[in-house]
Symmetry: C2
Subunit: 615 residues, 2 copies
């Protein structure tokens, strides 16, 4: 097999790949972080990079359409569309800085319900003698209130630990299993980690299990993103490549390992004082982390291999940042597209125990919706598409440095840009704000048409001037640039599809519960994305039902906080299984009303004129 | 490092070893089975072999004393005493054939109490659909009455097994863990193995767990014998060699693997229909099998790492003959020298539940003794030395082909030889019979002196003619040979030491229980060795207290049968822990009476003249 070498700058790494591999394959092999949203299908344009030199295949049909004029001018190519025909050197674009103020990275303060999974017991043992020949392990375990299982590898270490420590030791027991035996009194020192594995971002929280307190949190991009932005693309990768599952599993584990290593370094907590991990994450992420093929989630009837709690050891996961005996437990899933992260939201919000009718919505590629009617839970998942992640939008991008994330039009147009940088594109929240503003000003009508003529009288001149049609269609300029950042008719249509999917899900849940909009007492917006949205904008475009904006409340990364609660309390962990089991999951794809509702909510306003006026 | 090659015939294997290794090291490395009773210390003479050619060190001092004249004539050398100085070829002696009729190898017939550990359940599942999206694993486990844990590796196989089998499957659950998922209905097919790991011999029983029936049994020499005949030598090996523990563990596992593979081949049972192993074995063998250092058992206060039941998987043991998920459980130990094998004897004999006062004795290098007084159990272990294994005896050998195993002197001397072969030596039972016969004829007096003069009047001429003193001492010729097989004064002294140790143990247990000899209603002889002894001989030499021979009963390999009972019944398994915990263990080395009792029972008869007359 003939091969070629592809070197990536600025990382300075080289991959040796068979000829006719794609440059994206080479980047993956080299471990270079590439945000291949579409999974390498030439659809998203996100894997653009500069070919410094070398022999690669010519531009693929349509490749240019995915690159901006500025990118074409810089000589960028799509890594997924170019085949390696000889040695090459590629310069990747600067890795965008993550928004650091996002809810995912914040460290919750204050206490949590604390009912430790891990029991540490101090033992002050009498050394054996001819008149007391009790075996070492039996001597140790006699000091524990209930029977405990001991792995043979640990049993082998008991005699030397006991003798080295003068028979003064601390045992660590989790769920009837002896996890460790430590010299001296270490009862004060007991840690665990709650990890939320999102499709895009992995967040982890290091907690003191004895004190019920989070010490630090950290997040990082899921390294699986090199194989696609959404779960379907990743499932497809596991089905089409013999090593695909192992590859994605390894990337998830690597991401988790890096975050944990960072948290341990940051706090000075020793790895051998960590005993338990809890994982939240959507159903597909849970499967990939555990190396369990998620293939049947991809197609109807969307069946996961497991929903129940899975458990095992750090060694089984392949984690290197922690001793192999550290135990992990996943929070349970509800269904193929309502995962442990949603159960985490239930735990963190306590939604089941709150009175009245409440809705929790996690807006994303898959929008997960929870409805509680006096403690009776309904869930659904709705395929909103990648619009909220900024994909499928001409100048869309994730909520990274340079993204327009807030747009107001009350006193002339004002935009806010992540990192206070020059605008490079627009992310989901910016798009929603912009469209909401244009709807309010009647520049966009309820069917989503961006008006070029027939503009409402009294429209501020500043706004009117931004409606431009010097190209193949009308666009609304958000920022003059360079580069110019603008909104197209196509972008608005994408948002309509996404918002209709979410709204249809909400309406069907209300209907299944025998309720209507007026019954809603609270709408919680979960997730980093949802927490950064302006409720007024969501109401203006009709993504949420017409309610008083005051009852719409962001709840941050509730999935991660749910994992923290399950980590710190056996009661909360048990509650998770109960919540997952009792939630009534409504499968929208099988719901007779879904298509009608979806079509109905494509319109960009609220049908109720009273409430609409408020927006 | 300079090396040399040593080739072993007839095995036809070659080891490459550093110069100045012993030939025994080379044999071990080559995997050639050598019975190095003393562990390679040049004390037992059992590793004799013929040096065909090659450069080795000259005879060590004393080496010749351990070889018979015939062996010296054949040019045999002791492998442990010769250093490799260049390439060499060695011819080992024919591996002695094991006595196949021994109790260890017999397959018990009939039923046992059956209360299966392993629960197989047939599932006839409804395939999932959009209206029933239950996850595969949750769907399966919903059909089980109680919660079950599932390893992630098995969870990954559930979706394909369910679909390939059309959702008609059988689950296998052991102690709340899902062990396997099998296509179709396999509820009729469920097997397990009970394994008794003796220091000398490993015996295993393959059982049908559903029917409570033993299908086949098999035994084989413990391959650890290459590192010494007794447990102390083996412990020493683990302490003196960094890899010693791993080495001995590997040999135990290899022995067990070979026996299991043989049993599976013999019965046609598929390895993946085996789910559970139970292990009996003395405390040190249990430690070595599990790879747990037994070092503190070697010296006072003789503390094992564990006595309680240990459990794990075939993979953890390193067994290759069975799937990695197969579970094992050890029977519990009582103390450092009263192991799971003794608990097996308790189970098999049901001694605790029998009325009255009963004794069970397993005669061996360590004699284990159980006394039951109306269900109250006392145990002790007594260091009898290797005499009963035929070691320490000038022409002693194990109970292998060519060993004189039975001696009668009633109508002139008659000997029986294992395998109906020419006699090559004398084993423990032959020694006991011979000495008992000579004591009865007053050729050996109560102090153990083999008379040369002052022989009793009326002694048959055939017997008198066998008392020979043409060498450095008087000897009694059992077989004229060649080779001549005879008994020396030293041999008789060795037997006195061994029998006094056992008898002292029995007397101390009786004393601790407030009993005396007359209270004994039964004496059970456990183990292959004990089962082949003539009770009359044991009584004649005073190894057993003076009782009616009719109450002395051989019970075969009760340790192995106890492991079978524990394998077939959860109740019996639980009982084992109760027996081990409740038995009152008397540590003889710390017992104020032991030395006095030991000295007292060195004499070779019974002090009670009435009973003595009967012997």
């Amino acid at each position: 097999m003939r091969t070629a070498q592809v070197t990536f700058r600025p990382a300075g790494v080289t991959a040796t790949v068979p000829l006719e591999s794609t440059l994206l394959d080479a980047a993956r092999q080299a471990g270079v972080s590439i945000n291949a949203v579409c999974g390498g299908k030439g659809k998203c344009g996100k894997c653009a990079a500069r070919l410094v030199n070398g022999l690669v295949s010519p531009a693929a049909p349509g490749e240019e359409d995915l690159l901006t004029p500025a990118q074409l001018e810089q000589g960028l190519v799509l890594l997924c569309q170019r085949l390696v025909l000889g040695d090459a050197v590629v310069e990747t674009l600067p890795a965008p800085e993550r928004e650091t103020g996002s809810a995912r990275a914040t460290c919750p303060t204050g206490g949590f319900p604390c009912e430790p999974h891990v029991i540490k017991t101090r033992h002050d043992l009498t050394p054996p003698s001819l008149t007391d020949q009790t075996a070492d392990l039996d001597r140790l375990l006699a000091g524990l209130p209930s029977p405990v299982k001991v792995d043979i590898a640990l049993a082998a270490r008991v005699p030397p630990v006991l003798r080295d420590a003068g028979f003064q030791v601390t045992s660590v027991v989790l769920d009837g299993v002896l996890l460790a035996l430590e010299p001296g009194d270490t009862t004060e020192s007991s840690y665990g980690l709650a990890v939320d594995i999102g499709t895009t971002t992995v967040a982890a929280y290091l907690a003191d299990l004895g004190q019920g307190r989070v010490l630090a949190s950290r997040s990082s991009a899921n390294a699986q993103s090199a194989f696609g932005a959404d779960v379907i693309t990743r499932i497809t990768h596991t089905m089409e490549n013999p090593d695909g599952l192992a590859e994605l599993r390894g990337l998830a584990v690597r991401t988790v390992d890096e975050i944990i290593a960072g948290l341990l370094a940051q706090t000075g907590v020793a790895a051998d004082r960590v005993y338990l991990l809890t994982f939240a994450g959507n159903t597909v992420m849970s499967h990939l982390l555990l190396g369990i093929p998620p293939r049947h989630v991809a197609a109807a009837p969307f069946i996961p291999a497991f929903c129940r709690v899975m458990e095992g050891t750090a060694a089984q996961l392949g984690l290197r940042s922690l001793p192999g005996h550290v135990r992990f437990r996943t929070l349970p899933n509800v269904a193929g597209y309502v995962g442990a992260d949603t159960v985490g939201v239930m735990l963190a919000t306590g939604i089941r125990d709150l009175p009245g009718v409440r809705l929790a919505v996690d807006i994303g590629t898959n929008g997960e919706i929870i409805l509680s009617r006096e403690g009776r839970l309904y869930t659904c998942s709705t395929a909103a598409g990648p619009v909220f992640e900024g994909a499928g939008i001409r100048q869309g991008m994730r909520a990274e440095t340079g993204a327009i994330y807030q747009v107001t039009m009350a006193d002339g147009l004002a935009v806010r840009v992540i990192g206070d940088a020059l605008p490079r594109g627009i992310c989901g929240s910016g798009l929603i704000d912009a469209v909401a503003g244009l709807v309010r000003l009647a520049v966009v009508n309820r069917n989503g048409r961006l008006k070029k003529t027939g503009l409402p009288p009294g429209l501020p001149g500043d706004i009117a001037a931004r409606i431009v049609s010097d190209g193949p269609g009308t666009r609304f300029v958000l920022s003059g640039g360079p580069p110019e950042i603008s909104l197209t008719q196509g972008d608005i249509s994408q948002l309509q599809l996404g918002k209709a999917a979410i709204r249809a899900g909400i309406e069907i849940l209300l209907q299944e519960a025998g309720l209507d909009t007026a019954d809603l007492e609270e709408i919680m917006l979960a997730g980093a994305f949802g927490s950064n949205l302006d409720p007024a904008s969501l109401l203006a475009i009709g993504l949420l039902p017409p309610v008083n904006p005051a009852i719409v409340r962001p709840v941050g990364n509730a999935a991660g906080l749910g994992a923290v609660r399950a980590l710190l309390s056996r009661g909360q962990f048990a509650l998770a299984s109960d919540l997952a089991r009792r939630a009534r999951h409504i499968e929208l794809s099988a719901h007779h009303e879904f298509n009608r509702q979806f079509a109905r909510w494509l319109v960009l306003d609220q049908p109720d004129p009273d409430l609409q006026a408020r927006g």
